[in-house]
Amino acid sequence: MKKYISMGHPLLFALVLISMITITGCNKNVQTVTPALPGNEFLTTVELQLVNTSNPSDAPLAISTQISPSTGLYQADSVYSNLALLSLKANSTYNGRVIILDETQTPFDTVSNEILARENYHLFFFQPSPIDTANVIITGTTTNIPITYWNTTNNIGASDTTAGGVSDNEILITPTSPGIPLNLTVSRTDLDNNIPPMQIGLQDRYVTGAASTGILRVVLRHQPNAKNGTYPPGSSDLDITYAVKIQ
């Protein structure tokens, strides 16, 4: 007796095989690009609020803003720095905080609260200038900006590093380019929620030395999944300067 397995309808068999291959073959890897979300806030105003640790009535306030003092309107291409001056006592210590506002909103939106909420990938840097080369110390906890990120081509305004205005440039004091440094050191005093925690810079300590003048450049780095205490990763959310007078 002949025993066999019938192949039946070859067409049907082929159809089933093709449908299986097609269904399985459809599982190609996909890639999705999510575009920018609308409605990001403006960082119109940045205040440095300081309090002398030994004299609470000594509370300097420096304001850099893009809100026109005459019209009260946001000027994207302008920075009004007439109030961007820190007057500090010599040989003193100040506790300071950075307040960032969006004054295009009514009432004002305190953006620094959002920065605090997103502390794990934001980091402030504070660069006093003029500064001696030996005092530019770059570690994972210092607030200095690496010299390669300075604007050193001219003293004033050669490169625009702000969101909408013009930065003063850092001045490096060297044996071949002597000068009087700004005797100011800024350190961060707050910590984020990373493991291990890293500094943020919304809360800071300012220590002054002898009388001197200069500028303080303040930069907020946005370092999504890249924050490691150093300056280079990420991009800058704000980059502004204040005049500093220590007397």
């Binding site: 192949m7 089933v16 449908s19 690009v33 997103r118 990373n194 999944n225 924050k227 991009s235």
Partner: protein
């Protein structure tokens, strides 16, 4: 001598099975292909946002997938048999845009680009088969199988761009685990020829591997981050195929 006896016994058994095949249910080898519909959290998706600290995510984002099956059974009585199923399914991720948007909002960045691979599930399930003829050529079939599965989770890579700068990508690595699984199903078998049938089957499949997920290049605590995934991987599988029946002309 002993081995010869064993060989002869097996041969006799095979001959006996062949001889009485028509008096028993239709032993077969079949091949099926179809669609697999993930159930429960495995098949769900969400936009997970966490700006300060990471959060776990029970959702599996598994889309409907394709599945291929090879099975066979030997019927020791008119209605019941023993057999096994070897199947392989893959599942793309669905709603990847929601997944991507969660990372975008969590890190407050301009653009995220999410590239996932897929789930892969390989099953080897022996068990009990049932066949009940309702018409001359049409039978109702069922099966209850218990065995093992080897499942692999997708790798999910999320690249981040903000202010024109590309930051380190977030990578959820793939993991593979073996786990117990079961499958229960029912179907219809229609004999288009004496030794060839077309099968339509629906199965419920369940397994629960205990995946351990590595996350590389995670520098800051924000957004979705899963370190384990032990949600059930369950699915409804609907398949169509052909079965070659062991029969006599």
């Amino acid at each position: 001598m002993k081995s010869i006896k064993i060989f002869l016994s097996i041969a006799a058994l095979c001959i006996a099975v062949s001889s009485f095949a028509q008096q028993k249910g239709p032993s077969f080898i079949g091949i099926n292909g179809g669609i697999s519909l993930p159930l429960g959290n495995w098949g769900k998706s969400a936009t997970i946002v966490s700006i300060n600290g990471t959060v776990n995510d029970p959702n599996g984002y598994a889309n409907k997938g394709g599945i291929g099956m090879l099975d066979g059974a030997w019927f020791f009585s008119k209605h019941f048999g023993v057999g096994g199923l070897l199947s392989y399914g893959t599942y793309n991720l669905k709603n990847v845009n929601a997944l991507s948007q969660g990372y975008q909002e969590s890190f407050d960045v301009d653009t995220t680009r999410t590239t996932p691979t897929n789930y892969k599930v390989l099953n080897l399930l022996p068990g009990l088969y049932f066949n009940y003829p309702v018409l001359k050529k049409l039978s109702v079939t069922a099966r209850a199988l218990v065995g093992i599965t080897y499942a692999t989770t997708p790798q999910i890579s999320v690249s981040i761009e903000d202010g024109g700068v590309f930051d380190p990508p977030i990578v959820q690595e793939s993991d593979s685990k073996t786990a117990f699984a079961f499958d229960v199903g029912a179907g219809l078998s229609y004999a288009i020829k004496k030794c060839l049938a077309v099968n339509l089957k629906a199965d419920y499949f369940y397994t629960e591997p205990d995946f351990t997920i590595d996350n590389t290049k995670r520098n800051n605590n924000a957004g979705r981050e899963i370190t384990t995934y032990n949600q059930p991987l369950s699915a409804i599988n609907i398949s169509l195929g052909v079965a070659f029946l062991f029969c006599r002309k």
